[in-house]
């Protein structure tokens, strides 16, 4: 039998190898974005830029549509976050605190929405948004994104709220606080950490969403993922600029995630582990 030290070193090596393979693609993306546009397409490709260049980033300046799309994405993601939190907080509280038949049925329905392929509801949503006059508006796209994040938000928030001790509200109720008062003055402040994490999830879900944005926005409120995807067809493929756009687009996601990494992973896994 091998010594414990040798086998541990072997384990470490194996894990380091896996981590290297999984970390490589993004590192290569960043490295490519910092090459000159010509060097990005060199044969054979180099791992690192031979000469650092920000030309790919500067080139974004020539594409106002793409620049505007980042602004659209921010507005839509913020709107979707506000809508989702406003709807999901009361619903999650009801589901987490009051074990009623309606609450359980609601949670089940919410779970079922995960099975719906976005492409299935895309056209009907288009019809509804048109009837409401919301085609190609920030609000229309934000509402469509919220169809994904309201269920997600309710699940996340319900699990956060379940961990708040019941005694807190009971004490408030005894002191003469109404049910709404207890929710507003006790639960929401105590759950603010969980609400913040949920808000970030919702923001990112909207930021990354592709299909609804493709169907519901045209020239007016085109979001960044769509603008980036169309970038290739419109100007053949400028891979250099494409890599710099990809880096910029992933930046908010990475910053948010790094800031709250522990909680994000806990959030992602909470639904899964608790089932």
């Amino acid at each position: 039998m091998r010594s414990p030290f040798a086998s541990r070193a072997l384990l470490m090596l194996l894990v380091a190898l896996i981590v290297l393979v999984y970390g490589f693609p993004y590192a290569f993306l960043v490295s490519t974005s910092l090459k000159s546009p010509q060097a990005a397409l060199a044969i054979p490709p180099t791992l690192l830029p031979q000469q650092l260049s920000i030309e790919n980033y500067a080139n974004i300046g020539e594409h106002p549509t793409v620049q505007r799309s980042f602004g659209n994405s921010i507005i839509i993601a913020l709107l979707s976050t506000v809508i989702t939190i406003a709807l999901a907080v009361p619903a999650a509280y009801a589901v987490a605190r009051y074990a009623t038949w309606a609450g359980k049925a609601f949670l089940f329905v919410v779970l079922i929405t995960r099975l719906i392929p976005p492409v299935a509801v895309g056209i009907p949503l288009f019809v509804i948004m048109r009837a409401l006059g919301l085609i190609d508006t920030h609000l229309g796209v934000a509402l469509a994104h919220s169809t994904i994040s309201v269920p997600l938000g309710i699940w996340l928030l319900a699990s956060f709220m379940e961990s708040i001790p019941r005694e807190l509200e009971e004490a408030a109720r005894v002191d003469g606080c109404s049910r709404f008062g207890a929710l507003l003055r006790i639960i929401i402040p105590v759950a603010s950490g969980g609400i913040a994490v949920t808000a970030i999830f919702v923001f990112l879900a909207s930021w990354n969403e592709f299909l609804f944005s493709l169907l519901l926005s045209s020239t007016g409120v085109k979001t960044a993922p769509i603008a980036i995807a169309e970038f290739k067809t419109q100007y053949s493929i400028q891979w250099g600029t494409m890599t710099s756009l990809a880096v910029l687009f992933s930046l908010p996601v990475i910053i948010f995630s790094l800031l709250m990494q522990k909680r994000i992973i806990a959030g992602l896994t909470v639904g899964a582990v608790k089932g």
Partner: protein
């Protein structure tokens, strides 16, 4: 004037009402419209009108070889992505578990792809897989696995493309699988493993008889969640190939999108989408019953 007393039940309904109305208007109603469209001949330009055609759209969908092929591709794609993610993710989880606390930094780096937007992953892999200038073929050439950098046409070869478009999906979600399973492994009481050790069980027996059965609920949830997401995939494949070359990576969601938007065939596309959803519900229920149900009946 009668005063309505706010009972617990009324309070719950009041809290659920806003989200409930939202989901009714923007999720349930669209689903009803989809179901209705499945039975109508509808044009993209007059979505509110249409002629009732009974089961025609379903008959046409089930009779079309292109639909059957894209259904088979959806299944293949899901199996490819899911099995790779699960094997790699479970392997990584076991390694992290074996390392214990020392794996923290490595786990943090490994979690990184979780944070990458799907569209970026799709673009990045498309770039890396280009046959002549792509880094993947260049690395394979350097390692001597292929003779020339243009030997493998990852996204152009019809037999290979379904595997190639699964790569970004596998890359992004292995860490999710690994982290969930790792948490599950950490929750297994150490005494149970110790007891099995004292009873003389070797590593493999302990894994088969103790770890896997206890992990079964977590495995079930991971497989079902990831399976659903892989089957519904759209953006990562769309951005890499748009379903090409010659439909070789056209899975159901891409086929439905094309039928609706490019060909304006809303009725038949709705029928396919309805069948697709029905299939997903059945497959999830089956997976749930088989993986989870078997575990609890044994226990």
């Amino acid at each position: 004037m009668p005063v309505i007393r706010l009972t617990d039940r009324r309070f719950v309904l009041l809290l659920l009402a806003p989200a409930g109305c939202f989901l009714a208007i923007f999720v349930a109603y669209p689903l009803l419209l989809l179901l209705r469209n499945s039975f109508y001949e509808v044009s993209l330009y007059a979505l509110n009108e249409g002629v009732f055609v009974g089961w025609d759209n379903f008959v046409q969908a089930l009779g079309s070889s292109r639909v059957r092929e894209s259904a088979a591709r959806t299944l293949n794609y899901t199996i490819i992505a899911l099995s790779a993610e699960f094997v790699l993710g479970f392997g990584a989880a076991l390694l992290f578990h074996a390392l214990g606390k020392r794996s923290e930094v490595l786990r943090t780096i490994f979690a990184f792809p979780l944070m990458i937007p799907p569209i970026v992953a799709g673009l990045l892999w498309r770039f890396m897989l280009i046959d002549n200038i792509g880094i993947v073929n260049h690395i394979l050439e350097t390692l001597g696995i292929i003779g020339d950098a243009s030997d493998i046409s990852w996204l152009g070869d019809r037999d290979l493309v379904l595997f190639s478009v699964a790569l970004p999906n596998i890359w992004l979600t292995t860490s999710f699988v690994a982290l969930v399973l790792y948490t599950g492994l950490q929750n297994i009481p150490a005494e149970l493993i110790e007891a099995a050790k004292i009873d003389g069980a070797d590593n493999w027996q302990r894994f088969r008889r103790v770890t896997v059965p206890l992990l079964r609920p977590v495995i079930a949830v991971v497989l079902i969640l990831r399976g659903i997401d892989a089957a519904r995939a759209f953006d990562m494949i769309w951005i890499q190939t748009e379903g090409g070359p010659r439909f070789a990576s056209e899975i159901l969601s891409i086929h439905i999108y094309r039928a609706m938007i490019r060909y304006g065939n809303v009725g038949e596309a709705s029928a396919i989408a309805t069948l697709f959803m029905l299939g997903m519900v059945l497959a999830s229920a089956l997976a749930f019953a088989v993986i989870w149900g078997r575990g609890t009946s044994q226990a």
